[in-house]
Subunit: 194 residues, 2 copies
DNA sequence: AAGAATGATTGACCTATGTTATGAAATTCT
DNA sequence: AGAATTTCATAACATAGGTCAATCATTCTT
């Protein structure tokens, strides 16, 4: 049941069998259908989730009803409204399933207790946080200095596995442009390539 | 000499006198003139810096020679090329002084050792990292869903202390627009207000 | 299989921002 | 103080991307 997440964490730290038991003891398992919500705006956010199977998106809906996607997640990724999770605030983001998904959740309060009992686990989550921070910084720089076409090409080469599974509509929302604009860019890119 | 940084850290954690001595023992002190570089692209990044006095900017220069500002820092802020610092890579960002500045630096290798000796200190830097992560997430969302005028107003209300001290040229680079565009926006905003 | 919903593309038109150039005002330097 | 530099504003024009509307293809539902 928890073999994927153990394998994932073992890439970064080593835990004893006792520590694994303590850790897996607090995990919860969740199965969601396509389009089902994991978190809705306004919810308290007690959990962060590891994706065993499936594909999800975390987004904010603006005053005009447009979705703006902060993060996608597929197998072996973590997802939550991390701001709300860390700060213990109500969710500002909505998270739902692009595909039927299977998740493993861990509660913030359990995590804090485990940080004390298993310092290595704190290390693991600090490394993950550092990586997330770095990728956000890259994304900010990319938004500041690249054209939409460059960002699109960057996206599909950085996340080819995700690109196959989500619509251009969602990719456009992630890139901060309209689907019509993405469609035009794709045509231009094709014309240049041929 | 280190009273500001002690006060700053004490807002988040408590350390014993011995722990303070151990901590301050590894710090270095740095004074820079206006326009002087703290970090240049390509440098190894061993230190992160706490700003005692002054004002700096961290930016990337693109292929066309345009600056794109990732971060400003004034008194009581931390600055570095954090990606390079965490990943022990060469700097991709350049950091220089908008005003003459006084900094306190801490080395990554010292920090890692101190994390082991003083777990509370690891907590402090984890909290700072979490805050930085959260503010980056906010900035990404802001870039995705707000107009330039909204982002400008947001910037000057969130950082009124910084806004006073830096040129519109730099604010434009931070917002991802050209100074001419910012100038137009400022006029439009003024016209509306009057 | 038929109908409905969703996704992708395209075109005409509009708006915000970039580009280039210029001059005035403010600041810094000596 | 006077010169040099930097900052800010403005204008004319170009371009990227948004908006609105229509069409077609694909996938989902029953």
């Amino acid at each position: 049941m928890y073999s994927e997440i153990e394998k994932h964490i073992s890439k970064y730290i080593k835990l004893s069998p006792d520590e694994w038991n303590r850790f897996t003891g607090v995990l919860i398992h969740k199965k969601l259908y396509k389009k089902q919500y994991l978190i809705q705006e306004g919810d308290p956010v007690e959990y962060e989730y590891y994706v065993v199977k499936g594909c999800l998106k975390a987004y904010h809906v603006d005053a005009d009803g447009n979705q703006h996607i902060v993060q996608f997640a597929i197998e072996d990724w973590w997802i939550s409204d991390f701001k709300a999770f860390f700060k213990e605030e109500k969710a500002r983001l909505t998270i739902d399933c692009i595909e039927a998904s299977e998740l493993i959740g861990i509660k913030k309060s359990d995590l804090e207790q485990l940080y004390i009992e298993i310092p290595n686990l704190e290390r693991f989550f600090r490394i993950k946080l550092t990586n997330a921070f770095v990728s956000f910084q890259d994304r900010i720089l990319s938004a500041l200095e690249k054209t939409s076409a460059q960002r699109y090409l960057e996206f599909i080469s950085t996340y080819p596995n995700i690109e196959q599974r989500i619509s251009n509509y969602h990719i456009a929302n992630y890139l901060g442009i309209k689907p019509e604009s993405l469609s035009r860019l794709r045509r231009q890119i094709l014309n240049i390539k041929q």
